[in-house]
């Protein structure tokens, strides 16, 4: 079977853009991606769009052109973008289409996500008593992990420090001013052990990717960035998820474990073959835990990895080269596609001040979301 290639990428700057709707940010990204691919909107045969809080993606045909294009909306929590991309590549792999679009955008109100128990099949008392708080889960999960595997708070701080340092060179990032480690560590606690710099914020942004069959990609004359694997999986028994009034004594793996293993199997390579990785870092500890959950190191080795700078731009495995969610914020529908956007930039060698040296040839992306979903992609050029 021929590979699916990414032939066009576009992004609307993440962060806060007052007066511009989420949908408009998505449209902006689509136009950039079309231009990058050297095609026009009527060339697009199908689209999958993800948005969590900024309206139905298919309504963007009003802005882009009423070509009658097949446009399917995707809603899958934090994996919305990854799910849109997965669906788009399947449409091409099936032989049904040659050229299509995966797009994601969002625009969230300021402050923590405000979830209601009924949306998660939970009793009302759970929210009334103050448990519908994602940061509680994040805090409790890393606190256990630190206890089991000897990860220090300083290591969490180093993750945040790296994010802001990398974002300085990423024009699409939101928080682009470096923050010293001691400022990160001494900042007010939000949910222990995390200070305010160790959590990402809900944000705004849009990303679009144009996908093509290999034959079509060659016709367009673009460098062949191949989507070697795209996997989306849900949780196994015994995982620890957000909004859990109880968890099983018998502990199990995670949706990430499964999605990652399947993606490596599909691509026919292993973690040691990856040149650059974008790992879900909605909080600093998530990047730490996801390094191990995706197979890049063993539990506990992150302490040494971070101290030695192995995940820096020039390290053995650069992680979150555009600053990740910590520096870009998290517009849910766009966040997973941002990772793939960044990977294409890196594989094309267009990263500028944040470019991974040595002509990287393989790139990995990973998202995780409530209530236990994960999407992974592997790109090659």
């Amino acid at each position: 079977m021929s590979d699916v290639c990414i032939v066009g990428i576009g992004i609307h700057t993440f962060g806060r853009t007052d007066g511009v709707s989420g949908l408009e940010q998505g449209v902006f990204a689509v136009r950039e991606a079309l231009s990058d691919a050297g095609i026009e909107w009527p060339d697009i045969q199908f689209a999958y769009g993800g948005s969590d809080a900024a309206g139905n993606p298919d309504t963007m045909v009003e802005r882009l052109g009423l070509t009658g294009v097949q446009f399917i909306n995707v809603r899958n929590g934090c994996a919305a973008g990854g799910s849109a991309l997965f669906s788009a590549q399947m449409a091409i792999k099936s032989g049904e289409f040659d050229l299509g679009l995966a797009v994601g955008f969002d625009k969230h109100p300021r402050g923590a996500f405000n979830a209601l128990p009924s949306e998660y099949n939970l009793p009302d008392w759970y929210g009334e008593a103050g448990y519908m708080i994602t940061t509680q889960f994040f805090g409790a999960k890393i606190m256990r992990y630190m206890h089991e595997y000897g990860i220090s708070a300083t290591t969490l701080g180093r993750v945040a420090e790296k994010a802001f340092r990398n974002a300085r060179h990423a024009p699409h990032a939101w928080r682009r001013d470096p923050v010293p480690l001691d400022v990160i560590m001494d900042a007010p606690m939000v949910s222990d052990p995390y200070t305010k710099y160790m959590f990402c914020s809900p944000a705004e942004g849009g990303v679009a990717l144009v996908l093509a069959s290999e034959k079509k990609a060659r016709e367009l004359g673009k460098p062949l960035v191949r989507l070697k694997a795209a996997a989306m999986r849900t949780r196994p028994p015994g995982s620890f998820e957000v909004f859990a009034p109880s968890i099983d004594v018998e502990r199990g793996g995670s949706a990430t474990n499964i999605a990652s293993a399947d993606a490596f199997s599909l691509a026919g390579i292993g973690p040691e073959d990856i040149s650059v990785a974008q790992l879900q870092d909605t909080e600093a500890g998530a990047e730490i835990m996801h390094m191990a959950e995706n197979g890049f190191c063993r539990d506990g080795e992150q302490e040494q990895w971070l101290a030695e700078g192995r995940t820096e731009i020039g390290g053995v495995l650069p992680v979150n080269t555009d600053g990740g969610c910590l520096a870009c914020g998290e517009p849910i529908g766009a966040s997973g596609l941002r990772q793939v956007y960044e990977n294409v930039v890196q594989l094309r060698g267009d990263g500028g001040g944040r470019q991974v040296p040595g002509n990287p040839t393989t790139a990995y992306s990973h998202v995780y979301g409530a209530p236990g979903v994960s999407a992974v992609t592997i790109l090659e050029r």
Binding site: A112, G127, E128, G130, H147, P188, V190, S191, P245, V249
Partner: protein, 131 residues
């Protein structure tokens, strides 16, 4: 004083939390889910701290119905050996004294003492602490 929801606690003294036991697999969860797959199962009153964090900011209302004036409280996961790991507040403990593995016992706290009709929620405290 009534509890925040029907069926969370047993009627006995001291009260226990009511979990659910899967009739087929024996898996124990909290709270007891609706429907016929689970039967109510009174949980152990004692366990040990599995993990925790401190809630440092006031949760948004709705859905939160605690006091307007906010003071931070610890949120814990408490392992009840052989049963399940329950999410609950910790009470009667200094934040600096909280340690994973510490022995805990079930108690109840008032969600908002100034409410028109105050309600009780479940919490754990260090074993033997004065409540």
């Amino acid at each position: 004083m009534r509890s925040i929801a029907e069926g969370l606690f047993t009627d006995g003294a001291p009260p226990r939390l009511v979990g659910g036991r899967n009739r087929e697999t024996g898996r124990i969860v909290f709270p007891c889910p609706e429907g016929s797959d689970f039967e109510p199962y009174p949980l152990k009153r004692e366990g040990k701290l599995w993990s925790y964090t401190i809630q440092r900011y006031r949760p948004k209302s709705p859905p939160y119905t605690g006091p307007e004036d906010f003071t931070p409280w610890p949120v814990a996961y408490v392992e009840l050996p052989g049963e399940t790991i329950v999410e609950a507040r910790l009470t009667n403990v200094d934040f600096d004294d909280i340690e994973i593995g510490m022995p805990l016992e079930l108690t109840q706290v008032v969600l908002d003492p100034d409410a028109a009709e105050p309600v009780l929620i479940h919490a754990f405290q260090p074993k033997g602490a004065a409540s």
